[in-house]
């Protein structure tokens, strides 16, 4: 997939001269690299330890017993397989929340970019203003409102607020404005295609890098969401993974509670793997999408 924007400079091709590689600079930047990776390596190493090994071995090296598979099995089975239930909940919130958010942002961004209509400026002003509103400042009133509507402690309480991403709308707007030529729309209209058909059959492929970027970033936001479900959900059966891990950790840290630190660590590893994989596999998409929309001046 080529990024739709030609003004994005491809590295190496148009460079005037290629400066020589520097070992010193690589080593200095390597410090930040180590900083970024050490906690992840710590997590990986310690997910292979039993509860006992955790306390008796050095943090950045393996214990005598290699208990990764036992830990994974125990994590999935503990408390009647509640971890799998939490995984299912997270998937539901991500599919409905991030999927819905991407759909709304794509429709809206396309509409704002390609149609002139009364109130277009007002929509822009309101949405950009909303970016500056601290999301968590809204949490308490949203909770009280939802509890009046009888929505708290249901999946809707997590899904509905996840549907709005002002940043996603802005990104799709900028992206659609530059990626879809007006002539293309004129041609489709002359052929008598309906507006929706024009979007879904003709414009969608052109919008793909933008859509993947918005989808990926709203997936991260929903998958990693903690504050919203913490407020909205009481019943552990509706918890997403993040809240479940927090509950396990709270249990382990409480005096008299069953210490399940090895499950917290293995569960954490299982929680982050899908997103790390998604970012690694889709990096060409989100990098070009960000370059196009996120930093427009």
């Amino acid at each position: 997939m080529t990024p739709a924007l030609t003004r994005v400079r491809r590295p190496g091709i148009t460079r005037v001269r290629r400066p020589g590689r520097s070992l010193t600079l690589t080593a200095l930047t390597g410090i930040v690299l180590v900083y970024s990776l050490v906690p992840l390596i710590w997590l990986l190493v310690n997910a292979t330890k039993s509860q006992q090994g955790l306390f008796s071995s050095f943090g950045l090296w393996f214990a005598d017993d290699f208990a990764l598979w036992d830990n994974v099995v125990e994590t999935l089975r503990y408390d009647d397989g509640i971890f799998l239930r939490w995984l299912g909940n997270t998937l539901l919130y991500v599919l409905a929340g991030a999927g819905g958010a991407t759909l709304l942002a794509t429709l809206g961004g396309y509409g704002l970019a390609k149609f002139d209509f009364v109130g277009r400026r007002a929509v822009f002003a309101i949405v950009i203003g909303a970016v500056a509103v601290p999301g968590t400042a809204l949490a308490v009133p949203t909770f009280l409102m939802f509890s009046r509507l009888g929505l708290t402690n249901t999946p809707w309480a997590v899904i509905i607020p996840s549907l709005i991403t002002p940043f996603g709308l802005y990104l799709m707007w900028v992206f659609a404005a530059e990626a879809i030529p007006d002539e293309l729309l004129e041609a489709a209209r002359c052929d008598g295609a309906s507006e929706l058909r024009t979007l879904f059959q003709i414009c969608l492929p052109l919008l793909a890098p933008g859509i993947v970027t918005v989808l990926l970033f709203s997936m991260v936001a929903t998958w990693n969401n903690y504050f919203l479900p913490l407020i909205m959900l009481k019943d552990p059966d509706w918890y997403p993974l993040t809240l479940g891990l927090d509950a396990w950790n709270a249990q382990a840290a409480t005096a008299g509670g069953q210490p399940v630190f090895h499950l917290v660590i293995t569960g954490s590893l299982l929680t982050i793997l899908p997103l790390l994989a998604a970012f690694l596999l889709l990096q060409r998409y989100w990098q070009s999408g960000l370059a196009a929309g996120g930093v427009k001046e």
């Binding site: 005037v16 968590t136 990098q287 960000l290």
Partner: protein
């Protein structure tokens, strides 16, 4: 800065207006439900007080007056202000250095650097806080390991005096890569002709950075600063999760958000909690606006 994409040269026929709204309406409907309605409801709540007898009564700005004279609120606000003043510059400076290093083309394996340093962004705040919290720990954490191995006693990162610093480290770890990618993306759209001109003039690397690269990504710097300010004022996840690991170091009014949360869910003081949230929203928007204003003014010089 954020501006609306330029209007297209030709105006489409009027009947397109309805079609345009069809696309935007679904977003705006949900937006009204989860953004505008809660703001309105919060303002409403903040003007009332729950009485033991007689339900809610209108109290005007009493709740706001209480917030402005509430030492716990001020202590929370002061804490995030310190956090903001120390953590944000360090994180953004680090992100900028890495972005410039990768953009310079002088690194071995630079796409590996870019992706690996970005990865922590994909890690949930819960997992990031648990990992660092465990590593900070003296029982099976790295700090404990080092103490045992070297026979020293390092200061406990979860001690009340140090815990803010430790939280700053977690937040820096989470977002340095994200900001780096934003800066790097901005650097990549600098027109090549500028570099050619600089080379003709015989400008060195540092000169190019100061005269071309930094001014070119000013917009991205301002956006990243604003988002980081909003993030700092909203600080909640990391201290909330760390509370289980360091119960004595983190109070219920550690940050304004934690305070609003405790007021609502432990104290049932919904009206006052909404007031605290609104005051924080106003403070955040005011500071973000000032930064944006400064960013634009410097651009005009």
């Amino acid at each position: 800065m954020l501006t609306a994409p330029q209007a297209r040269p030709r105006r489409l026929p009027r009947r397109r207006s309805l079609a345009g709204w069809q696309f935007v309406a679904p977003f705006m409907l949900v937006f009204a439900l989860v953004f505008i309605a809660p703001i309105g409801y919060a303002i409403h709540l903040s003007l009332y007080r729950r009485q033991l007898i007689g339900g809610n009564s209108f109290v005007g700005l009493d709740n706001y007056q209480r917030a402005l004279t509430d030492p716990q609120f001020w202590s929370a606000l002061g804490r995030v202000a310190v956090f903001l003043a120390v953590q944000v510059p360090i994180m953004l400076f680090l992100a900028l250095l890495v972005a410039l290093a990768i953009d310079s083309g002088r690194l071995y394996g630079r796409s590996f650097f870019r992706v690996a340093i970005f990865l922590p962004y994909a890690v949930p705040a819960v997992v990031a806080t648990l990992m660092w919290g465990f590593m900070y720990g003296t029982r099976f954490g790295l700090v404990g390991n080092i103490n045992d191995a070297l026979g020293v006693t390092l200061p406990d990162p979860l001690h009340p005096d140090l815990v803010l610093l430790s939280i700053g480290n977690i937040v820096t770890w989470e977002f340095v890569g994200y900001n780096m990618v934003i800066f790097y993306s901005a650097l990549r759209v600098v027109p090549t002709s500028l570099y050619e001109a600089a080379e003709v003039d015989g400008a060195g690397q540092l000169r190019v950075i100061r005269a071309i690269k930094l001014p070119a990504i000013r917009g991205a710097l301002v956006i990243a600063t604003i988002f980081s300010i909003i993030g700092s004022f909203q600080l909640f996840n990391e201290p909330s999760i760390l509370q289980h690991l360091a119960p004595n170091a983190i109070t219920t009014y550690f940050t304004p958000n934690l305070y609003a949360y405790s007021l609502s869910f432990s104290g049932q003081q919904y009206n006052y909690s909404a007031t605290v949230a609104i005051v924080m929203g106003l403070v955040t928007m005011a500071v973000a606006y000032l930064v944006q204003l400064r960013g634009i003014r410097e651009e005009g010089r």
